[in-house]
């Protein structure tokens, strides 16, 4: 799958996550969306069109800033990444 196709496929999940979610999910969604947009931009800049690279890069970006987060927030972020991956595989 091409990167852009994957992005189009999983992006709506951010908006959906917001609606049924509580404050924590709202936070996770906003936090991750910022990372997600930037990672996509960086991959495109590096000439990457391979969708396989997206999730490893996202994981790497999030792990670099993990120290900013409480363990509970980390869990919310991880959970949302898993849901994005599930959507990607669907």
């Amino acid at each position: 799958m091409q990167l852009q196709q994957l992005v189009d496929k999983v992006e709506p999940l951010f908006d959906e996550a917001v609606v049924d979610g509580d404050d924590d999910e709202l936070f996770a969604s906003g936090y991750l969306r910022g990372h997600f947009d930037l990672v996509v931009a960086q991959l495109e800049m590096a000439g990457e069109s391979d969708a396989e690279k997206l999730f490893p890069a996202l994981q790497a970006a999030v792990s670099q800033t993990r120290h900013e987060l409480t363990p509970a927030d980390q869990a919310h972020i991880d959970n949302l990444i898993q849901r994005l991956q599930a959507r990607a595989a669907a």
Partner: protein, 626 residues
């Protein structure tokens, strides 16, 4: 929700206040008054103006110099309007005042108005402040006052989190600190060593401070941060207060040199990005030249354009940026083109279930003055049109006529304007040489690239690559066959769905816009007119028959993360970008121009670093080489 460690700011609690018998606002949270019961104004002048030595310092300002004050605790804004009023009285006419104030619990605009109403002698200032006062949402909001002579940056949020971030980019820029806030005994959280350190980091070497309190812990904290502290008699019944300056003020040093060099700054591009930049630079007294192939020949040349924020349901960088940019644009445009702004409301139809979910969540998160959820019936009432979808309604948004705005900005531009294409950009000592298509050269100290995707060609020989993506868009201009009876003539609100429909201007509506990635062709296509109209008809099946009057195609310059690319190019000192405004240039450009001007002049930025870093050109390179 408390997320102190998170890099994303939270929504705020507005201040809980009541007014006492003297009409003075009292905080319910801190059980403390906002200003002195006796004479708040005289106390403000005594403590903060007099003990920072401001009147003499203002009288000695150079022409066009900017004096920066930072304050903890904006409160009712009394210190600000008092400083502003006295600055106008004593500073040279071309000098500017930049006032940055931190506030954790902002007053609502109504409470602010009431709190300031007793200072009738300052009524003209209070009224202007009330008119631009931001909504109580976390973040930095820049307010432009007194025709740009006074800039107020309000930073809403917990100072213990916002100040450490802000000080990184405001290093050595503050002339005077107003250390205000509720008394240390009532609000111990604020009076921490990180506050004093932030004051010291952001202070110029000769900066001063003053505070109403003389508490020992405050004195020791300020001393530990590097301030020389002096106890002086307090105001009224208060025995003592503190004043002083950075200890480095003693050491011999040169007066901070003017960062400008003799060669002018060149702005490339005369669209909404370039002309806003010219204005922001000129306001700061910087000699600026404008070089452009034409005026508003790109995306800025549309007949009508919407001004509104893109809002997410969560606090994303994009949503936070657009809210800040919208706040600035909403107040800035009427200052330069009042007759051409029609900020009468805008609606965003929930045209699919995802949008419905998003918009409902946006409405739940945002203050009502920014966005509310409305049913189709309410939207029908708002517009008089047969709307069938629920949606989001933004009361302060609207549209303007870009051509009128740009001519107004161009008319105010006093620098040279070369109607030429720049063919090459080369470093030349510490300056830049711009080669023009007519064979001539121009030398500039700094260059701002505001020429959308045309920047790519100029940057390529410098080995700088930015992900600027051209996206073709065609707008269809239509007239309703039965304008008067269709209700279209009476609707004043912009309707956004997948595309958009503007209210009539001189009997003609804009219906937009197609979206073709990677296409830079600007010829008119009948098929795209049809798409525009079909897409509108999907949302408004009962709309009158529309006659196509004309069409216009242009190329948007977008970026992969939908944020503009704004700031200094670190790989090429002296080059700055204001690029990648996508479909939202009218909303984003004024604040982005302030960001470029601030970076160029070493002034405090109009965004907190967590956002300005997300706009910075080097964000795309962050992960390279790993």
């Amino acid at each position: 929700m408390a997320k102190p460690a998170s890099p994303i700011v939270d929504n705020l609690q507005a201040a809980a206040v009541h007014f006492n018998e003297q009409g003075v606002p009292v905080s319910d949270t801190f059980d403390d008054i906002y200003y002195s019961n006796d004479d708040g104004l005289a106390e403000s002048s005594y403590v903060f103006v007099q003990h920072n030595g401001l009147i003499e310092r203002w009288q000695n300002l150079r022409a066009e110099e900017c004096f920066v004050i930072a304050e903890s605790g904006f409160g009712s804004g009394l210190n600000f309007i008092n400083a502003w009023a006295q600055f106008e009285q004593h500073a040279p006419a071309s000098a500017r005042l930049h006032f940055v104030s931190f506030e954790k619990y902002p007053l609502t605009v109504d409470a602010l108005r009431q709190a300031l109403s007793r200072f009738t002698q300052l009524a003209q200032y209070s009224q202007q402040l009330v008119a631009v006062y931001p909504l109580p949402v976390a973040g930095l909001f820049r307010c432009r006052l007194a025709q740009g002579r006074v800039t107020l940056d309000l930073i809403f949020g917990d100072l213990l989190h916002t100040l450490p971030r802000w000080q990184q980019q405001a290093k050595a820029s503050v002339d005077a600190w107003f250390l205000d806030g509720f008394a240390p005994a009532k609000n111990p959280d604020m009076w921490q060593s990180s506050l004093y350190q932030g004051m010291a980091v952001s202070a110029k070497p000769d900066a001063s401070f003053a505070t109403f309190t003389a508490v020992g812990a405050v004195k020791r904290g300020l001393q530990a941060a590097g301030f020389q502290v002096e106890k002086v008699p307090g105001y009224g019944r208060k025995r003592e207060m503190l004043r002083g300056q950075l200890s480095s003020a003693d050491k011999p040093q040169q007066k901070a040199s003017n960062p400008r060099t003799p060669a002018p700054v060149a702005v490339i591009g005369a669209g909404i990005a370039g002309l806003n930049t010219c204005y922001a630079l000129q306001q700061r007294g910087i000699e600026t030249i404008l070089i452009s192939t034409a005026v508003a020949d790109g995306g800025s040349g549309n007949r009508q354009g919407a001004v509104y924020p893109q809002l997410h349901a969560e606090a994303t960088p994009l949503s936070d940026f657009y809210h800040a940019a919208f706040h600035y644009a909403q107040h800035w445009y009427p200052q330069v083109a009042a007759d051409h702004c029609h900020f009468d409301g805008l609606l965003q139809l929930a045209f699919n279930p995802q949008r419905e979910r998003r918009y409902r969540a946006v409405a739940a998160r945002c203050p009502a003055a920014l966005a509310i959820w409305q049913t189709a019936a309410q939207l029908r009432q708002q517009t008089g049109l047969a709307i069938q979808q629920d949606g989001l309604y933004l009361a302060g948004a609207g549209w303007l006529t870009p051509a009128a705005l740009l001519s107004s900005l161009l008319a105010r531009f006093r620098g040279q304007h070369y109607q030429q294409t720049v063919t090459q950009l080369q470093p030349c000592g510490s300056d830049w040489r711009l080669s023009l298509a007519n064979g001539s050269d121009i030398v500039a100290s700094q260059v701002v690239l505001a020429n959308a995707h045309a920047a790519t060609e100029l940057l390529q020989p410098l080995a700088i690559e930015l992900p600027l993506r051209p996206v073709r868009g065609q707008v269809t201009l239509v007239r309703a066959s039965s304008e008067a009876t269709s209700g279209l003539a009476d609707n004043a609100k912009v309707i956004c769905h997948k595309g958009y429909l503007t209210p009539a201007w001189q009997g003609v509506h804009c219906v937009g816009a197609s979206f073709v990635r990677g296409d830079t062709d600007v010829s008119i296509r009948a098929s795209e007119d049809q798409q525009n109209i079909d897409s509108l008809r999907e949302q408004l099946p009962d709309i009158a028959a529309l006659e196509v009057v004309s069409s216009r195609a242009a190329v948007r310059c977008s970026t992969p993360d939908h944020l503009p690319i704004v700031g200094a190019l670190t790989a090429a000192p002296g080059l700055f970008t204001l690029l990648g405004l996508g479909s939202h240039g009218l909303t984003a450009a004024p604040l982005c121009a302030e960001l470029v001007a601030a970076a160029l002049c070493g002034e405090p930025a109009p965004l907190l670093p967590q956002l300005s870093e997300r706009l910075a050109p080097q964000r795309f390179a962050a992960k390279r080489g790993e």
